[in-house]
Amino acid sequence: MTHAVASARGQALRRGWFRFRQSGLSMLGAALVVAVLAIAIVGPWIAPFPGHVAGGVDTANRFLAPSLAHPFGTNELGQDVLSLVLAGTRISVLAGLGVVVLGTLFGTLVGAVAGFAGGWTDEVLMRLSDLKLTIPGLILAMAVAAALGAGLLNMVIAIALSWWPGYARLVRGEVLARKEEVYVAAARAIGASPARILFRHVLPNIVSPVVVKMSLDMGFAILTVASLGFIGIGVRPPTPEWGTLLSVSRSYMPDFWWTAVFPGLAMFVAIFGFNLLGDGLRDVLDPRARR
């Protein structure tokens, strides 16, 4: 009997995996994400010049063009750009993850409460999220980040503050839709308490869209983190963050283009990977959105 259960579930999983694997793009995305995550974990150790990552400088070797010793060249302080880019992966992934997780937690809470309670509570919470949607997110994040001062955590908080309404709206919409499901009516009819309905019948069924949104948002969160860094409201030196690296390097173009182009490419590849993966996941997990 247990065997039958396992095989039934296994079949569903296999079917999803099959569908996922069918799409070469999703696989490419998964591969990119795995690579990015791997670099995020081991990046600082595989960096050829770990000293530079910690802030070491080598002013005698400024602006060396890409070569075997420095595949991505060196920057204005003689630091190895490859090392900085590799080490920067962890910062970006961590920050992106932080933003998405914070946004999801808070947004899901707000959305679930609003959608489930309805009425006055819903109205107030949704007006609040409207407000956040109306205020340009980047400007809000800039103002908050500027107020809190430079630093990774501050940046994550600043972005997450403008991030949760998306989740709140998604979750609220899903909760409202699930609330109308017949099985929820059935649960109510057998006398289930609101909490039971929310946690047992509603929330488990909206995990998929939330996970899909999280995976789709990862890339965008990394991009927003980099944007703040680019504007110059980012991490503290010597933390090697991609957007900050790009922001510093842009004034050295076109002569020392490698200082700007490689961090930018790293950013692009990581975001692209997460977006491809998110797209693929959506196809598998969120059948309604499947095309």
Binding site: V5, A8, A186, R188, A189, I190, G191, S193, R200
Partner: protein, 263 residues
């Protein structure tokens, strides 16, 4: 057992983008009385108010006016705790067996859920609940080997049996059957109808059977009422309603019944 007295339900109009829609009267002055142990049929076409009536009976919605009494107790006056206890006594099987089961729960969890909710009154431990779930599955013609499977692994007829098992979990006195077979193929429908008839005979249940299919109603119901635009237009024993319909609407409906008849 169930008394519905002069129930009216009005939905307020909604504010749309380009203006407000008028309020909708879904039920107006509906009165019915269903005796214990009988099988009562309620026939109506789409928009006639039959679904609203079930929602009011189950107290998923409150009627605008009127009273609904079950075993002599008025729903509107019950405390939340008492209401919850009442819910163990009156159960429902919905039309769409595909939508009425939570896809994330196993059959075991689905069937035991009412027992968990009403564990205070039923006094069943976890093991007893599982045992009872197996019994219930057996009762509705499904083997206990299905307990740990998920709804999507079942056919429509099997799902409807699961729904029936869930409805019977708390040993209710009354079951509302809201078009329980209209989503099923004819051959499957017959089995489910037989199961329902069998269960009623064995457990002494009271049925409120709602359908638009006159043939089904005629087959399973002792008494029948016709609802049209929120009003009861005809009520009586099934035989009487089919053989000597009193209202034009009933006559029209019966005439329109598609039947395999060549005479």
């Amino acid at each position: 057992m169930l008394e519905i007295e002069n129930v009216t339900k009005v939905y307020p109009g909604r504010q749309g983008m380009f203006g407000a829609s008028p309020p909708v009267t879904a039920l107006s002055g509906v009165s019915l009385a269903i005796a214990a142990g009988e099988s009562f049929g309620l026939v109506g076409e789409s928009g006639s108010g039959k679904t609203t009536l079930t929602r009011c009976i189950l107290r998923l919605e409150a009627p605008t006016s009127g009273h609904i009494r079950f075993d002599g107790e008025d729903f509107a006056r019950l405390t939340p705790v008492a209401l919850r206890a009442m819910r163990a006594r009156i159960q429902i099987v919905f039309q769409d067996p595909f939508a009425s089961l939570n896809p994330r729960m196993s059959v075991h969890d689905i069937v035991t859920e009412p027992m968990v909710i009403h564990r205070a009154t039923l006094g069943l431990g976890a093991r007893q609940r599982s045992a009872r779930a197996a019994e219930l599955l057996d009762l509705v013609g499904l083997g206990p080997q299905h307990l740990h499977r998920h709804p999507h692994e079942f056919s429509g007829g099997q799902r409807q049996r699961i729904c029936i098992a869930r409805a019977l979990a708390c040993q209710p006195a009354m079951v509302l059957l809201d078009e329980p077979t209209s989503a099923l193929d004819v051959s499957v429908q017959a089995q489910v109808l037989n199961l329902l008839a069998d269960l009623q005979a064995r457990l002494g249940l009271t049925y409120l059977f709602i359908s638009h299919d006159l043939g089904v109603i005629r087959y399973v119901c002792d008494r029948t009422a016709l609802i049209w635009r929120g009003q009861i237009v005809e009520e009586g024993t099934t035989e009487r309603v089919f053989d000597a319909p009193a209202s034009d609407y009933a006559r029209m409906l019966i005439a329109a019944m598609p039947e395999v008849r060549f005479d």
